[in-house]
């Protein structure tokens, strides 16, 4: 694991992309230009994070069936772009995409690790919580994932991927942290709404509070890559940001424009944050009692607290 006091910080780039809806090949070509730019940066980032549905746009409805890829194909396409522009230079890439496997479709995010010799798929996370209300209609077209894996990023160590609404259910980052995650990475596509706030849309403020809460409760880094641009009148809110384990926002992008957001992560900040606010350790101690509580509806064969 890099990013400690001996090796210097881990170098991260969050790509706030504005894909053209459904234009996969065109968006792939744009990503090649972005990778070329990233490879020319000094220093070159060690981790690149792309948003949810990064190469297709988010609101695809039935067109998701035409744009989905297998994880292997998507991983090959993305990693080949990096190889083309950066040769054998190692990098890790996280990116959201619509996945197909055996006729089932998922809103997924892949984690790739490229070294001099090979490209490995380290993890594929399938979105657990598919928003299907109001403007959202994911579950009509997609299947749900069923677990949060914590995987070992060669750069960051134990890491979890969550996609968009996954992060809104506090139990999901909690499970990730309990399983050892020190960094939680959230590719997202968040349509903006709420004009009652001051200075920014309410949904942007809400996301910021939410992600800072995750970082502070669990003493972990949170990296958020947000899709930007309008999709049929629905403006994606970008706001890609990196948050330190003490809740400090290290860097944050504006809402609407495409950009590259760079951050440096001193990974040993996790130990400091957890030592100063040991909530995760406290939770480990108390959680077994909480889960054994026989008043929990599912332990009583009920679906909710009303007894129904």
């Amino acid at each position: 694991m890099h990013g400690n006091s001996e090796t210097g910080p881990a170098l991260v780039a969050l790509v706030q992309s504005k894909p053209r809806k459904g234009a996969y090949a065109e968006n792939l070509a744009s990503l090649r230009a972005v990778f070329s730019q990233l490879a020319s940066l000094e220093p070159v980032p060690e981790l690149i994070v792309l948003p949810e549905a990064a190469l297709t746009g988010y609101f695809l409805e039935g067109a998701v069936y035409e744009s989905a890829r297998s994880a292997e194909l998507f991983g090959h396409e993305v990693s080949s772009l990096w190889r083309d522009v950066a040769g054998e230079r190692p990098v890790e890439i996280a990116a959201g995409f619509y996945e197909v496997e055996n006729g089932s479709y998922y809103n997924s995010a892949i984690w790739l690790a490229l070294d001099e010799r090979e490209t490995r798929i380290i993890n594929v996370h399938r979105k657990l919580f598919l928003p299907t209300y109001g403007v959202f209609d994911e579950e009509r077209f997609l299947s749900r994932g069923n677990r949060v894996r914590v995987f070992n990023s060669p750069l960051l160590g134990p890491t979890a991927l969550l996609i968009c609404e996954d992060a809104w259910h506090s139990i999901v980052p909690t499970i990730a942290a309990l399983k050892g995650a020190r960094t939680i990475v959230v590719p997202s596509a968040a349509p903006g709404r709420g004009i009652e706030g001051e200075g920014e849309l309410l949904s942007i403020s809400r996301w910021r509070e939410l992600l800072r809460g995750i970082a502070m409760e669990h003493g972990c880094f949170v990296l958020y890559a947000g899709l930007a641009g309008f999709e049929g009148g629905k403006g994606m809110t970008g706001s890609s940001r990196a948050i330190a384990p003490d809740g400090e926002i290290l860097v944050e992008a504006d809402a609407r424009e495409g950009c590259i957001v760079r951050a440096e992560l001193f990974l040993d900040d996790v130990e400091i944050a957890r030592a100063n606010l040991p909530l995760l350790g406290d939770l480990r101690a108390v959680l077994p009692d909480l889960l054994a509580d026989d008043e929990l509806p599912w332990l009583r064969g009920q679906t909710d607290a009303t007894g129904r």
């Binding site: 006091s5 944050e252 950009c259």
Partner: protein
């Protein structure tokens, strides 16, 4: 080409920030609670050196208790800088508090005449402890609670006379770094002549705190604020702090833990005070 958004350039030596309005409000509440609530004392007495710490303490006390209930005592020694005396008077005048001047020369020299070989350090400690004597006696005379003025930086670096500067029963500034005290001073309207001058214990001519310590307060505070969170030296180096300064600060902090405690008492029984027999300070 996409625009690149970088984190704000971070100077590791950025001093820890405060919101001075919030801090002032909180500390005024603390002083009211300790003086009026817990002890039923309407008056406070503060030793006023002409420096920023005691000036800020005086301002806070006046906000908490009113100017007529705050006694500000100047305690010059014959070698003290006239500027210190003058600056202390600025505070008394600005606040309309009750000013007192007690010259400690006779008391200090009354003892030191028998110790002619005492070096500057010993002489300084005698002056500081004499001021403590005066402050506590004035407290009894005026029925006024002595208020401490030591800041967090000097407490951590051990840059104070034990059982002198640290003796008052309550201290509003003890958890504020020196740079934060300066920020609070500007917010409270402490005269710029006091805020902007080089801090000095004024125990010798041309003495400055930063000269004694070997590091600027702003740099020490930045190191301390990270060090206290638990960062080890190599982690501080990786974050851009100078290794020699980190070592200096670490040496001072780790060599002075004893100064931040009451005297060590040998434990002999199952009822040893503060070991077995434990009661909160406000119980």
């Amino acid at each position: 080409m996409l625009p690149v958004v970088d984190p704000p350039k971070r100077d590791p030596y950025t001093a820890p920030k405060i919101d001075p309005a919030v801090a002032a409000r909180w500390l005024v509440g603390f002083l009211r609670d300790e003086c009026l609530g817990r002890r039923g004392m309407e008056n406070a007495v503060v030793g006023l050196s002409g420096g920023v710490d005691s000036a800020v303490t005086a301002y806070l006390c006046v906000h908490a208790l009113g100017p007529r209930n705050v006694h500000l005592v100047r305690m010059p020694y014959r070698t003290s800088s006239p500027t210190s005396l003058h600056d202390a008077q600025l505070v008394i005048d600005a606040l309309g508090a009750v000013g007192h001047t007690v010259d400690i020369t006779a008391a200090v020299d009354g003892y030191l005449q028998y110790e002619p070989e005492a070096d500057a350090r010993r002489r300084g400690n005698v002056m500081a402890r004499t001021r403590m004597l005066v402050l506590f006696d004035q407290s009894a005379k005026l029925t006024a609670l002595p208020i401490g003025t030591g800041n967090k930086t000097e407490r951590l670096l051990g840059y104070f006379t034990w059982h002198a500067d640290d003796t008052p029963p309550i201290n509003p500034l003890g958890d504020l770094f020196k740079t934060q005290v300066w920020e609070l001073a500007r917010y409270l309207g402490v005269p710029p002549a006091i805020v902007d001058k080089a801090p000095s214990a004024d125990l010798e001519a041309n003495q400055t705190d930063e000269g004694d310590l070997g590091i600027r307060y702003a740099r020490a505070d930045a190191i301390l604020s990270s060090m206290l969170l638990g960062y080890r030296d190599e982690q501080l180096h990786a974050r851009g702090f100078d290794a020699a300064e980190v070592a200096l600060v670490r040496r001072r902090v780790e060599g002075t833990h004893w100064k931040r405690h009451l005297p060590t008492t040998a434990m002999l029984t199952n009822t040893a005070i503060n070991e077995f027999y434990l009661r909160p300070v406000d119980y």
